[in-house]
Symmetry: C2
């Protein structure tokens, strides 16, 4: 058994049976070994950022990591932005980066570069496999490191000769690390704080945003009068009819400040204290109000749902005290097509069990509101702020959940970073409906240009934020990549097209022609 | 004057008047400052890899660096592969990476990451601007570092507040560093070696591949019987009728070995000893034959053309001893469309002063042969092996040389890494004709899969190299990005379409439907 075969068999033994890849010559033995290990599914991407983002989306929905296979330093570079997003979302990814053969590195061939230094940007666990005999064990360590807790990007650098030589040994999975229980004293202290009657909020993030955590948090909040808030860009938020609703902290710092205004206590559950996304001249970066005390109920290695359940008990919340979102949908929209009416149509038509990959940016602002009472669904956000995540995440989520519909809300500017995801969606016949908000602008930057207090923008500056010269035609781009597409210019057209796209199997794209904000 | 204005004014004072950019919020003051400095041209890219590759192509043709503006660590990641190519090609690039405000970094906001560690992969010169008062001087240092010699990617990290605060000071350009003259003793020693009559070759790279170096090298070679060879992937090779022809070392190591077989002496001129692109089981990585002595005439900081001229004199070569390529073109091709017939059409129609950006990979193999006697032109190669370079390099070359036609030879698989370059070509009305070789395959990987001695490929492995499920339609993709496109399925069609595309101003794309090798 060569190293590549041992590696892949070990991954499968560890529960990692999907590999999103964009391989090159140094990874050819890994590719060849796929046929020896039928349990491993290889999914080809045309660009590395699609592979890494898909691995992120897959793990968010499958609750276990996928692997990615990248080609040397440049391949890792191309995949880095979405690994950054996975890192910020604490999503496990087994990141395998092929490299030159060990003895070849000394010659500084064209593709030689320092892979470790790039990997350090996204990985705290980095290992270079040194021997074929050990690559199986390295893979098992990588999977364990990726799973954490917290989840992380674990990077295993795989020299070509380690892959191709014989002598590979399949390794056993490592025992999983469990999340730490939260000490009852800590729970009791926070319970006492919440019961004090002083203005308080519970801010949930990460692992607290599934049903169990949400229900317990809602019970505790209702029993004490505390506000319940959710981090701005959750990795995976379970929501919809039958689940406790939760307000997300606003992206714009001034709105987030209003949400936090007057608080005396902020209880953090698998989340950091809120800060502004960017710095702005004369505006605060740290958003916790002066005089507000921060309490940590659970860190990112703790068992947050259990801690919340203990908190609910400690504050004496009845088991049925959680607020439950009633079922309700907006009517089908009519008239002009806007971010608002697109979102209304989404709320009207969202199928049970849908997965929303949200990179709608400014045009997508209305989507959470109009889908709040829709059938239960999952909401996946741009965790690290590096645009070009939405379509790859949708792709990976669809691979993880073949029985669910995935809806990819996509801003036009952001779409162009990883548009190649459409091809993989077509190749794998994935049930992904992509909605591109085409406002022909980097609208968020137009807004930010004013907010940062820069000079009143002149024509050259405005030109750098304008996507309308030339106009992009997402229908043609999508068809060119193998995904059928339509264009909607009215709300009625959009609703009809969305209904049809959701009814048919396989991927589809709708280009929604919307105005800027 | 704020920091951004001082920075841009300093760049302009240093001769850097073009900035390829994909900015975000942290770079908004840089963008706003463009209107205060009319000399600086901002060129928007939809993806960072387009911006960095365009800066590479620009500098190759303008012989001075452009700047790029990227958005934090993820933006640098997206631009990294083409910065890798620039690094390997020793092309100067002033790489400006915006970052959070200095005081904002402590909060680990969503887009926070370690930029320096990523930059280290491509830059030996990295500086983080610390104060607005110094950012002008930092920029002047960055330009000087980028220019070298040798050319390099100089990375200047620009915190948002350094950019927005007042107090910027425009800095003077630093005096250019000159290339070192080669000592006459070294020239004489090599001249004596070449005159010994033992089998020898002169291998040219980098700065030796312009007219002056080629003429001198050809004189020296002809006077001594030495072979004349060119590195496999030159940064910029001047060629065509009226210039000395030169054989490039083959990409496939076995062919390169045949070119080098029997040599007793190899004279290196701004190039490293030849090595195999990848390692292959049981095949050598280092391609210099046993018993062949390596002599360095000029390093990458030396004045290579002058060293070659001195060598030609030292071996007593007459001034007219260079071989000069006579003008000759192939006839227009007919019949089936193949890499060969596409290249014939190119040779038949290549305009005077054309610039070829060559990422044709397997399908482009015939292009150098059929254009050898075409009117004088420049040939730009994939210097670092990171695919996705060709279309961005073509874009930058066209900005640098608005009076010349650029032809972008592009393999289909590689095209999908930075296809967004088409939009910038349309936006800037660039005279770039892109020829996509659509063979619906990662053909080079099919070849490599066999060459690396992997198991006979099974269906899963073959599927990872197949681009034909679904078929991509480059005409639609191109039109969707604003570039008019046609598809050719016969040699006649292709020649007609190429002739038309070259005759009309602005960008065009031709999808050439070719078989795999």
């Amino acid at each position: 058994m060569n190293g590549a075969q041992a590696l892949i068999r070990t991954l499968v033994a560890c529960g990692v049976d999907t590999c999103f890849m964009n391989p090159g010559t140094s990874e050819m033995h890994f590719v060849a070994a796929l046929d020896q290990v039928p349990e491993m599914r290889g999914v080809l991407a045309l660009f590395e950022g699609v592979a890494t983002g898909a691995a992120d989306g897959y793990a968010r929905m499958a609750d276990r990591p996928a692997s990615v296979l990248l080609h040397l330093g440049p391949g890792l570079g191309n995949g880095l932005a979405n690994l950054h997003n996975a890192r910020k979302g604490k999503v496990p990814v087994v990141n395998i980066v092929g490299d030159h053969a060990t003895y070849h590195k000394q010659y500084d061939a064209q593709l030689e570069s320092d892979i470790e230094t790039v990997a350090r940007n996204v990985s705290t666990w980095i290992r270079r496999s040194q021997r074929t005999e050990e690559v199986g064990a390295d893979a098992a360590d990588a999977v364990a490191a990726a799973i954490g807790p917290p989840g992380q990007v674990a990077t295993l650098i795989l020299p070509a000769d380690v892959s191709w030589l014989d002598g590979g040994v399949v390794a056993e999975p490592k025992p999983p690390q469990t999340r730490s229980p939260v000490a009852s004293e800590a729970v009791d202290t926070i319970a006492a704080t919440l019961r004090s009657g002083e203005p308080a909020a519970i801010l949930l993030g990460g692992t607290a945003l599934r049903e169990a955590g949400l229900v317990a948090a809602s019970r505790a909040a209702n029993a004490t009068g505390a506000k319940l808030l959710c981090e701005t860009f959750p990795t995976r938020l379970e929501r919809g009819a039958g689940l406790p609703p939760i307000d997300r902290l606003a992206y714009l710092a001034e709105f987030a400040q209003a949400q936090l205004d007057g608080l005396r206590h902020l209880v953090l559950v698998d989340v950091k204290p809120p800060v502004s996304f960017f710095a702005y001249p004369g505006k605060p970066s740290y958003l916790v109000p002066d005089g507000c005390e921060v309490h940590v109920l659970a860190t990112d290695t703790d068992d947050a749902p259990s801690a919340l359940a203990a908190l609910a008990e400690a504050v004496g919340a009845p088991t049925d005290a959680a607020t439950i979102q009633p079922a309700s949908r907006p009517g089908r929209p009519s008239g002009s097509l806007t971010g608002d009416s697109v979102s209304q149509a989404l709320g009207a038509l969202l199928p049970e069990g849908a997965i929303i990959s949200d990179e709608g940016n400014t045009s997508g602002l209305w989507a959470p509101m109009h889908t709040a009472g829709a059938p239960r669904h999952d909401w996946l956000c741009l965790t690290g702020g590096a645009i070009g995540q939405g379509m790859p995440v949708a792709t990976g989520a669809a691979i993880a959940c073949p029985d669910r519909k995935v809806i990819s809300l996509q801003a036009d500017g952001s779409a162009l970073y990883t548009i190649q995801a459409l091809w993989t969606q077509a190749r794998e016949s994935l049930d992904v409906v992509t909605i591109v908000f085409n406002n022909r602008s980097y609208a968020v930057l137009n807004m930010e240009l004013n907010r940062v207090g820069a000079e009143p923008p002149g024509p050259k500056a405005q030109d750098m934020l304008d996507l309308g010269r030339p106009d992009m035609d997402f229908v043609r781009i999508s068809e060119g990549l193998g995904v059928p597409a339509t264009r909607a210019t009215t709300a009625e057209e959009f609703a009809t097209q969305l209904e049809r796209a959701l009814a048919e199997p396989g991927p589809a794209l709708i280009e929604a022609m919307v105005p800027t904000l």
